[in-house]
Amino acid sequence: MQAAVEAEATQTAHAPFDVERIRAEFPILTQQVHGKPLVYLDNAATAQKPQVVIDALERYYTEQNANIHRGVHYLSQLATREYEDARVKIQRFLNAAEAHEIIFTRGTTESINLVALSFGRKFVQAGDEIIISTLEHHSNIVPWQMLCEQTGATLRVIPINDAGELLLDEYERMLNPKVKLVAVAHLSNALGTLNPVQRIIELAHAQDIPVLLDGAQAAPHIKVDVRELDCDFYALSGHKLCGPTGIGVLYGKSRWLEAMPPVFGGGDMIASVTFEKTTYNTLPHKLEAGTPHIEGGIGLGVAVDYLTGIGLDRIAAYEHELLEYATELIGSIPGVTLVGTAREKASVLSFTIDNIHPHDIGTILDQEGIAIRAGHHCAQPVMKRFGVPATARASFAFYNTKAEIDALAVGIQKAIEVFS
């Protein structure tokens, strides 16, 4: 299977994007749903898995399974090496300076909560402020609300305009010495807005304020370089990156992670334990108590190598083409209103149709084999900002095709007919 990854890597940057060849690597995509070929356009919820990732999971359990970091025997050492190699793969994927800056978590939600609980406990006090934005996923809202409730800090929210873009002037005015952290999405899951994170970070850093980026949506679609961004934390989910569920990453700069107390105590996170005193292990283990999701980490390592093999820049360029095509086609259907029309966007097309609730759109499209998301996308404040209870959302990945977007357009016409 390693061979497949390498073969993929030899596709040169300028070769045409061979989407059929890529689709053949995703076994689930050959399925029929309700008698129609599956058109999977719910990638913002979770991505499908290529055969190399599926094989890595099977290989782990058929050939490598043992607990890690604690065995002298062969299998334990093998599993440990595979798991730690995966950490290095993710370090390279994000261009982090050190492998120990990659903390394995269950996903973006846990990564953000870990920062709230640990960084928050250490650095946030009554009277302090945390800045988030209007377009955040609930997982980048609620942990901060909980922290504010516990500490007496205040949550401040960067507003957005009607296109779904952050108002940077407002943001700039909100920055002050009481702000202890800025936490914003790199790419919005509800609107598809690609936020000007470089600028957001520069402005915060000018006042020595650290920045956390919620990269759950961005990491699968654009090249992320945490050192170039100079972000202090970066959170992502493996399952949105063609990896397994239940595994994710918190990237943190060493100097922050070193200063942060552990949140969970137990095995692996300690150097020594007596009833009088426990000394903590070094990074990354200090923040990773207990037996982790070993095969998940390994699978995620394979997934990021797979994506790197295709090339994130090529993925971004191809998906951009898909999004432009879809925006044009779906946006021109009478009765359809696009929600989220930022100049900088990726992957996500959120829309409403006059007099048809998104849930009904979702059911009708499902009958056509088309999977989209209908709802508030765990971003209720965004829905409120746009005055809608919910939207329908198609989200694209590099294995989608223009023909699938055509099928979506036909499905939408059908929904309009049913309700005409």
Binding site: V33, N355, H357, D360, I364, A390, V418
Partner: protein, 174 residues
């Protein structure tokens, strides 16, 4: 792709998609029948009751459906009923049909209807083969083929029950 992949089909060949509840296209017409679309467009009793003796909020956090139900009780009888809110076609039509069905009924009668209705949309009660008190509500039986939509159809009923019980908290289908 891996050559050593073992394709194991767990589904016996004689099982048709029907048995697997993979609904064929026809059922979409069953779900979105003209009567339902009509109730969605022109919901009955879609108003605030001036003389409401009870008011109850209902919410389906999954899709954002929201309903406010108003009851005017006369002893144990639902003398008048109205609702406001927003939701999908199924939820709105079901609310509309529910209000039409329970107006003038006693609490006991309404609760019996809810029980039969709820079991019908979950596919546990077939009004075609059993005696029932559902009247025109059987039109919503198509919902049973769409498990994801059962909550949409039952939101207004859950809200009604809470109103009859006099629960003050907003109720939620989650």
């Amino acid at each position: 792709m891996s050559g050593r992949r073992r394709q194991r089909n767990l589904v016996p060949d004689n099982l048709t998609p029907d048995i697997l509840h993979l609904t064929p296209m026809a059922d979409l017409n069953e779900l979105y029948q003209q009567v339902i679309l009509d109730h969605n467009k022109k919901p009955r009793n879609f108003r605030v009751l001036e003389n409401a003796t009870r008011q109850q909020e209902g919410y389906n956090p999954l899709c954002g459906d929201q309903i406010t139900l108003y009851l005017e009780m006369d002893g144990d009888t639902i003398k008048d009923i109205g609702f406001q809110g927003q939701g999908c076609a199924i939820s709105k039509a079901s609310s509309s049909m529910m209000t039409a069905a329970v107006k003038g009924k006693t609490r006991q009668e309404a609760e019996l209807m809810f029980d039969e209705f709820h079991r019908m949309v979950k596919g546990e009660f077939d009004p075609e083969t059993s005696e029932h008190h559902l009247g025109r509500l059987t039109i919503l039986s198509g919902v049973r083929e769409f498990p994801a939509r059962v909550k949409c159809a039952s939101l207004s009923w859950h809200t009604l029950r809470a109103a009859l019980e006099g629960t003050q908290e907003a109720i939620s289908t989650e």
